[in-house]
């Protein structure tokens, strides 16, 4: 077998990546057989990558290595994992169901701790002073130095407070929205929600454009440019 030099590998990689890029972009015109071939190949590559990752990062270092070093107890979770394979059999599928039930319980229990860690701090962060005097007092207590005028922060906090209440009101399920104040607040909440969605949509466009531009740069400057000498 002749050995392939690093330069040759670079070229192969370049061409392969180029063809892959064009194949996927052909979808923008129309779904077609070439695209389909690359779609399936991508699935194959991805699954094998996921699989080899698991093999290298879990099976070997967490199971095989400790087992061969005498830590026999790691064999027990492996045995439990085998129960997954009973899903297809009607008679023994209770084993998979029991395993899954246990895992669901673990997921639920873990979720409680996650909610607390992820979301509870946001409750406290929503306690914000609404008057300039109070803003200054809180700043002094926390040694915050900033050039922003206190009245500005107080005004921002007020807007924040109203938005929070309005949007939360919109989501109440168990009240018929009959009370006029509730109806109006919920309506305001829906509008603010839409502003929030618009904001996220608009701010994502630049980021997504960056991705496409990256690919264009690749095709034009890396791939074609390799032969024409174009440089960014």
């Amino acid at each position: 077998m002749t050995n392939i030099s690093p330069e040759q590998f670079t070229l192969i990689q370049l061409w392969f990546a180029g063809i892959c890029t064009l194949a996927i972009y052909s979808l923008l015109y129309k779904e077609n057989p070439v695209y389909r071939i690359f779609e399936y190949m991508f699935l194959g590559l991805g699954s094998a990558y996921g699989f080899s990752f698991l093999y290298k990062d879990v099976m070997i270092p967490k199971l095989w290595d400790p087992l061969t070093q005498g830590q026999w107890w790691w064999f027990i979770p492996f045995l439990f994992g085998l129960l997954y394979f009973t899903v297809y059999s009607g008679k023994f599928s209770w084993m998979a169901r029991t395993l899954i039930g246990t895992l669901m319980g673990l997921a639920a229990g873990y979720q409680f701790t996650q909610v607390v860690n992820q979301y509870f701090p946001q409750i406290r962060d929503s306690f914000r002073p609404l008057t300039p005097a109070a803003v200054e007092a809180v700043r002094a207590a926390n040694d915050v130095v900033t050039t922003q005028p206190a009245w500005q922060e107080a005004a921002n906090n007020l807007v924040f407070f109203i938005t929070l209440i309005a949007v939360m009101t919109y989501f109440f399920f168990s009240f018929e929205h009959r009370n006029k104040a509730v109806v109006k607040t919920a309506q305001l909440g829906r509008w603010l929600l839409m502003i929030s969605f618009g904001t996220m949509f608009g701010s994502t466009i630049t980021a997504r454009a960056a991705l496409a531009i990256s690919r264009i740069i690749f095709i034009v400057y890396d791939w074609i440019g390799h032969y024409t000498g174009w440089k960014m």
């Binding site: 996921g50 306690f127 207590a141 009240f175 996220m200 949509f201």
Partner: protein, 259 residues
Amino acid sequence: MQHASWTVGILLALLAGLILYAIFTARRGKRLFIRRIPGLNAIDEAVGRAAEMGRPMLFATGLSGLDINGLQALAVAGHVARVAARYATRLILCVADPQLYAIGEETVRDAYQRAGRPELFVPEDVRFLSDQQFAFATAASGVMFREKVSSNFFFGYYYAEALILSEAGQSIGAMQVAGTPATTQLPFFVVSCDYTIMGEEYYATTAYLTREPTLLGSVVGQDWGKIIILLLIVFSTLALSVAPNANWVKYWVNLFPAG
């Protein structure tokens, strides 16, 4: 936070207690009111549409793993599968997490059985595609193109693949219903799907679909929980604004965990 402080413990217990209380009141037969969520009626509509056109439907769980969001997605999938079985419509479930795939297989099989049509269940229609984000998105879009699906359901936790899937569905003219607690992807579902179930409505979905007292009670309990949080915020904000230097206010605020 490695371990709960006592305030956190109390707050968690209070929220859980309210929800459980509401659940058991509902179970004892108390009638509970919940308002309409437009997107949820659309689920049955979408199944009906597929039955009429004689074409399959696709249900994708996004990148959800074996966690509460993923399980909730499968609970919705179970309901859709039951309706599908009733109309003898094909449902293709696409999953990105292998463990969730195993549960999905069981859930859909069970749904067909319960609808009295076990013979309609096709094991190949529950598919593990890939645990790699974009390989999953491409493969699920591929299923849409090749099976010419008439309706798409996107339930679960989504990342950037949300718009890839929903635009693929748009391009073949499928009716699309999405539901996700992933706040970053909601805008994209809102603009590209026919109906979007937003944020916490996602956890109330099964309650609306099944009208089970347990689930309805749980939805009412969620409302009570939110009222508690809202009251906490209103009270503390006002206290902080009126008496920012009072010791009890400082003590009170410090009871809550900071980020």
